[in-house]
């Protein structure tokens, strides 16, 4: 099977975080009782007309620039016609042949190499609503309810070139894209809330071939894990078909997370004919260059630049810099922490270790971390001063995470201050020696491991509070 290679292109939808919808003044806030964030315009009632929200254009320009795209001087909206109950007008206002941005790229790191992935186009469109099926699944539902709160929330669709060659590359691309959109503050990219979604086009071909194989499209992949697993499955499925002498059918498939397989959604024959045509209710969009330049001035430091800065300014290893800059929130966390505690590598270790571990365990975003950068800095300062040991610090950090209390407060409350006083520690060391004659003897007979055991016993007796260097010193003196 090694003689095949995959060809993957992604279509990513990101909800823009403007305050109001793309064609009306309704709020874009997530949640809210069903059908409360709506008005006649986003409901597409008879006679109403869309009016383009200028902020949406601004956000799209910003995202386009961050992805190294050309921003069109002349762009327009089109109607994409299809029937679905969550689409109030039964057409979606989108952009077809004249998108706002095109011909861009982003870069990913694959096996230490930088790989450039082309971005074909970026366009604006309106989101649809949500169907809530009253039953176990769509086929069994007795009836369905529609919530139009999300209808008209602005989206950008970003279409990549088929430059990706593996599921891992696809995931890296998606992660980088998410980071870039978050860095420019145009989308919060919350995949669990559906504000970042992905469709994947995939085909396989014999390695070395320049022709494309027949592709399938996998719809609605809503996590990085789903993206990677679905692609792995689909590539394997396609290769097996070809190995068996079969042919790939061009179709749209969906990913069944629980079964871990992709299944046919519709075939090419049933494919939609969207009957695109220019949206007559909106005037064409003419974007003056001055506007584009003004937006360019507002672009923040993007992930790649920031990664380079962390390496140069703080001497962080490449791996650390990549993880830290993988999300803007994480990089901001790092910067704020380093401002208060200048040992960057220690900060990076704690962020990549304890912080991410606890965030994952609690399913939290960095922004929602109960321990703020100042809190972590305070904790690290306590270790530095020798007030607590590194080991105790981990317990303290967990406690900070659970309770939201400060490091010093917890250390004081629980009496976790490190024992650095010889007078306090000496009797405990003596007691451990007295109670473990066998180990003492072993040590004296040259078994180094016995020394470690004795240190452990002291630590245990002090609940880990003993200063390790001091324990070592006292033990050696006595043995």
């Amino acid at each position: 099977m090694a003689e095949y290679e995959a060809v993957i292109g992604l279509e990513v939808h990101a909800e823009l975080k403007t305050n109001s919808k793309i064609f009306c003044g309704c709020t874009t806030e997530f949640g809210g009782a069903p059908n409360t964030h709506v008005c006649p315009i986003c409901l597409g009632m008879p006679g109403v007309l869309p009016v383009l929200n200028r902020n949406v254009v601004e956000y799209a320009i910003k995202a386009g620039l961050a992805l190294n795209c050309e921003i069109a001087e002349f762009s327009k909206f089109d109607r994409k016609n299809y029937y679905y109950p969550d689409l109030p007008k039964n057409y979606q206002i989108s952009q077809y042949d004249l998108p706002i941005a095109k011909n861009g790229y982003l870069e990913i790191e694959v096996d230490g190499q930088t790989k450039r992935i082309g971005i074909t186009r970026l366009h604006m469109e309106e989101d649809a609503g949500k169907l809530i099926h009253q039953g176990d699944d769509i086929a069994e539902a007795e009836y369905s309810l529609v919530d139009y709160n999300r209808t008209g929330v602005p989206l950008i669709e970003i279409v990549s070139e088929p430059d990706l060659r593996s599921p891992v590359e696809a995931r890296l691309y998606m992660e980088k894209l998410k980071a870039i959109l978050q860095y420019c503050d145009v989308s919060d990219c919350k995949m669990q809330e559906g504000s970042l979604r992905c469709d994947a086009n995939v085909s396989v071909r014999p390695k070395g071939s320049t022709e494309f194989g027949t592709k399938t499209e996998i719809k609605n992949l809503n996590s990085f894990k789903a993206l990677q697993r679905a692609l792995e499955y689909e590539i394997k499925r396609q290769i097996e078909i070809l190995e068996d002498g079969g042919r790939i059918v061009q179709e749209t498939r969906s990913w069944d997370e629980s079964k871990g397989i992709t299944i046919t959604l519709r075939s090419k024959e049933e494919a939609h004919d969207y009957r695109y045509f220019p949206e007559p209710d909106l005037v064409p969009l003419v974007i003056d260059r001055e506007w584009v330049e003004r937006v360019r001035q507002t672009l923040p430091e993007l992930p790649d630049a920031r990664r380079r800065r962390l390496m140069e300014e703080y001497g962080l290893p490449a791996y650390d810099a990549m993880v830290i800059t993988g999300s803007k929130a994480l990089a901001d966390y790092f910067d704020q922490c380093v401002e208060k505690f200048s040992d960057a590598k220690t900060v990076s270790n704690w962020i990549m270790g304890e912080l991410l571990r606890l965030l994952n365990a609690h399913n939290l975003e960095v922004e929602d971390s109960p321990v703020k950068p100042e809190g972590l800095a305070e904790l690290l300062a306590l270790i530095n001063k020798g007030t607590i040991s590194g080991k105790i610090a981990k317990t303290v950090f967990e406690e900070m995470f659970e309770t939201g209390k400060g490091a010093e407060e917890i250390v004081k409350e629980k009496g976790l201050v490190q024992i650095t006083d010889e007078k306090v520690l000496a009797p405990i060391v003596d007691k451990v020696i007295e109670e473990n004659p066998k180990s003492v003897e072993d040590y004296r007979n040259g078994k180094d491991r016995a020394f470690g055991f004795l240190v452990g016993q002291v630590m245990k007796a002090t609940k880990g509070k003993a200063n390790p260097q001091l324990v070592n010193k006292l033990l050696r003196e006595r043995l």
Binding site: P40, P46, L49, N81, P85, R275, V283
Partner: protein, 489 residues
């Protein structure tokens, strides 16, 4: 003289002099409706109570010494595709039979602001598709000049109401001639403004790039007054032009000396009824006599306007009408086992045959594989038609043509021949394709039925066509002629 027979500007004077009250005027028109609407059938919905309340409000401000705007206290009506808050807006379709919009169209807002009295909603061809008013899902409206004939379409109800004095003026919509052709058939004044001059917000869309709301009045003066009230930029319609609105009363100058008028040869060809042609030619002689310089001009792509229109308008309509699916409002089929069959049955039962015909035409024209051959080609034709006009307007101040090739035809005469029906808009459609303003005014009679004269202007130059129309009107009597309607007592 009955109050209902007067024009808005005449009534305004009486009101301002406190010789009559708005309640009296409104009651007069309501009684007139009572008398004749059983035979004309112009109204789909009457809002009598609301009208009287509004009239009392105007009377109160008049009594308190306020100066009234020119339309304050004057009763009028809206074509039933113009959304009125709290009042049914049906588009004369079963699918919207019970639809009550929670919002007003911008034109409704503006007229309410101006103190207009709304009498109700007027019958039309379903979703404004038709040229005879026979496509209403409820009942056909009749031509007040001859009850066996159609009033024209699709603003037939709005036009018949004015012709029969069942409203002092009305607002209609014009997609391919839907104000001008019925105005011509019923002997009243109908104006299709420049695309973008009047907000379309709240006008239930038929073909968005062609639709335009306009006034239907008894004379040109009223037409200017109503246009003044409804024109101008609307932030809720991004296709509405952000330009200053001229003072249309300035256009009411009875003088056209030195104006250059083009007579497009292609509008006088085959299919033009001889008597209609004669009436229009006499009108042209009259304009020359009044000092205009009339010359023949060619608009070579005119013959392609109709086929291109019947691709573009249905294409947009097929998309605009997709929202009527039974999911959110309006009619829903009684029983359906799943979403798709609910869609299909709702739309099959809710739409009439002409609407279905155009949805199918439009769906076909936009479908992949045919788009380039039909829709795209039609757009190119549209550009050529626009260029014809641009060229003509380099030389002429306005163009003069018949509004309709014939006078009003008999009910049922063309009902089963869609192509023959489509031909009745042949003189009006190019104007919509080019987005130009055009007015139809009465200019004569044939077989005892009114003939309309069409005056086409440059974009946003309503002032010139109103001036030509006003001058013609001031020097003729056609606009004073009234149909002899038998009154039920």
């Amino acid at each position: 003289m009955n109050l209902y027979e007067l024009t808005a500007h005449e009534l305004h004077e009486l009101l301002q002099k406190k010789e009559v009250s708005s309640r009296e005027i409104t009651q007069s028109v309501l009684e007139r409706i009572e008398e004749v609407d059983d035979s004309v059938k112009a109204y789909v919905t009457l809002t009598k109570e609301k009208a009287l309340q509004q009239a009392d409000k105007v009377d109160k401000s008049l009594a308190s010494g306020e100066t009234l705007g020119p339309l304050a206290g004057i009763p009028m009506g809206f074509k039933d595709n113009i959304c009125t808050k709290g009042i049914k807006t049906t588009c004369s379709s079963k699918i919207l039979e019970n639809f009550v919009p929670p919002y007003n169209a911008t034109v409704v807002e503006r007229l309410e602001e101006a103190g207009a009295i709304c009498l109700g909603k007027l019958n039309m061809d379903e979703f404004a598709m038709g040229s005879s008013n026979e496509n209403s899902a409820f009942f056909p409206t009749r031509n007040p000049w001859d009850l066996d004939r159609v009033p024209g379409g699709s603003s037939g109800g709005a036009v018949a109401a004015v012709a029969a004095d069942e409203a002092i003026y009305t607002l209609g919509s014009d997609t391919g001639g839907s104000i001008r052709q019925p105005a011509s058939f019923c002997g009243v004044v109908g104006l299709k403004p420049t695309y973008g001059l009047v907000s379309r917000f709240g006008l239930v869309a038929f073909a968005s790039s062609l639709d335009q709301i306009g006034p239907i009045t008894k004379d040109v003066t009223d037409c200017a007054l109503v246009l003044q009230a409804i024109a101008g930029h609307d932030p809720y319609d991004s296709t509405s032009a952000n330009l200053p609105v001229p003072d249309y009363r300035q256009a009411l100058v009875p003088d056209i000396k030195g104006l250059r008028l083009g007579i497009p040869r292609e509008y006088f060809g085959e299919g033009l009824d001889a008597e209609v042609k004669e009436a229009v030619n006499q009108a042209i002689s009259k304009l020359e006599e009044l000092g205009a310089c009339c010359e023949e001009v060619s608009l070579p792509h005119t013959e392609y306007a109709l086929p291109a229109y019947y691709l573009i308008a249905p294409a947009e309509a097929s998309s605009n009408l997709a929202r009527y699916d039974g999911v959110k409002y309006g009619y829903r089929t009684e029983e359906a086992k799943d979403t798709v069959s609910m869609y299909m049955k709702t739309r099959r039962e809710g739409f009439g045959p002409e609407v279905k015909r155009r949805i199918m035409l439009g769906t076909y024209a936009l479908s992949s594989g045919y788009y380039d051959a039909y829709y795209l080609k039609a757009l190119k034709v549209r550009t050529l038609i626009k260029r014809d006009f641009d060229r003509a307007f380099e030389k002429y101040d306005a163009l003069i043509a018949p509004t309709s090739p014939t006078v009003a035809f008999k009910i049922g005469e063309k009902a089963n021949d869609p192509l023959a029906m489509y031909l009745s808009d042949i003189c009006t459609i190019p104007v919509n394709m080019a987005g130009l303003p055009a007015i139809s005014i009465p200019c004569g009679f044939s077989q005892g039925l009114p003939v309309g004269l069409q005056i086409i202007g440059k974009p946003f130059d309503e002032v010139t066509i109103l001036r030509v129309a006003y001058t013609f009107e001031q020097n003729t009597d056609y606009h004073r002629a009234k149909p002899a309607l038998e009154v039920k007592r």
